[in-house]
């Protein structure tokens, strides 16, 4: 089973990853037992795919600079440095997540994407043939969700595979 976990820099998504590691990938270091009714088929351990999406920089109208008109179109250097910064952020997030997975001895692949998180995640699911998507949930109420947008909500309705929504404990006391 290929499990994709959507990661960003929020605590909720790391909680979701932790939950997945604790509940779906338990006892990974134990030798796989041959299941009785399988006729000698090997137990294939589930694999993990970590996906981090960075929002792409808008290529218009970013007023940078103290004096009006200094930079209404981000220059190439600005775009480049933002891209580099995003790559670094993505790499940091993914390496932190990867470390957590390595501690549990799970076969992990990382994926760094650019663009609108909702679309990128759904596309990645199809491209990588994921069987399950795991997302955290920020616990937004109905109104906030409508205005701020909810990646987990969008994915639950549009992803082509089953979606598992992990709620962080501070949502309900």
């Amino acid at each position: 089973m290929r499990v994709m976990v959507a990661i960003d820099d929020s605590e909720e998504s790391f909680y979701a990853l932790n939950w997945a590691l604790d509940n779906l990938f338990r006892d990974m270091d134990a030798p796989p037992e041959a299941s009785g009714g399988g006729g000698g088929s090997e137990v294939v351990p589930p694999t993990l795919l970590l996906a981090n999406v960075q929002q792409a920089l808008q290529h218009y109208g970013v007023p940078i600079g103290p004096v009006g008109g200094a930079a209404f179109y981000p220059t190439v250097t600005v775009t480049e440095s933002v891209k580099k910064a995003q790559e670094q952020i993505s790499a940091t997030i993914l390496s932190r997540a990867l470390q957590m997975c390595k501690d549990k001895m799970v076969i992990t692949e990382t994926l760094s994407l650019n663009g609108n998180p909702k679309d990128e995640i759904c596309q990645a699911i199809e491209q990588k043939h994921a069987d399950l998507l795991i997302v955290g949930s920020r616990g937004l109420g109905k109104i906030k969700r409508a205005f701020l947008g909810s990646v987990s909500n969008y994915c639950a309705h549009h992803a082509k595979c089953p979606v598992l929504i992990v709620k962080s404990p501070k949502d309900h006391e």
């Binding site: 089973m1 006892d27 399950l132 909500n153 089953p162 598992l164 929504i165 709620k167």
Partner: protein
């Protein structure tokens, strides 16, 4: 390492094909590959609508059809659970608890989560668009936001070619 206590996974079933697909997918991915060493204890919950909520009218004659509606609903509930049990047995999953509760599916499922201290609730969904969902209501949406545990929504892939 001693085997830890199993976590509880609740799968919601009704008479639709979507929930049968959801149960089958869950069995195939979580229970069949691991056999006896699976990580979860399976509880299957069916929410039986109360007959008074199914029958909208409250005029003369309602009293007569209520018992018929009630027995019909009971029959559906039994059939749903039997089908679920058969599906589990066909996949060699024998440690299953089956439950029926009367009431609205949303509340029944959230209460079942509390009662069993479940760690996952699995629901199918009808694949409604946003408008249908707003009008008809969506149990999977409600549970995804209100259940006090992780929720897994299993969708039937649309087969339109």
């Amino acid at each position: 390492m001693a085997t830890a206590e199993k976590q509880v996974m609740i799968v919601a079933v009704d008479e639709s094909e979507h929930s049968t697909y959801a149960l089958e997918w869950t069995l195939d991915h979580f229970f069949v590959p691991l056999g006896d060493s699976c990580l979860f204890k399976l509880v299957i919950v069916h929410a039986k609508p109360s007959c008074t909520s199914s029958v909208g009218l409250a005029g003369p004659g309602a009293a007569e059809i209520l018992p018929m509606v009630e027995s019909d609903l009971k029959r559906i509930a039994t059939r749903v659970l039997e089908k679920a049990k058969e599906l589990c047995l066909s996949k060699s999953v024998s440690d299953v608890t089956l439950e029926v509760h009367e009431g609205d599916a949303r509340n029944v499922l959230c209460e079942a989560v509390e009662k069993h201290h479940a760690s996952i609730l699995v629901v199918g969904n009808h694949g409604y668009g946003a408008i249908k969902r707003a009008v008809l209501g969506s149990v999977s949406d409600y549970c995804a936001h209100h259940a006090h545990c992780t929720v897994m929504i299993v969708k039937r892939p649309k087969t339109k070619h």
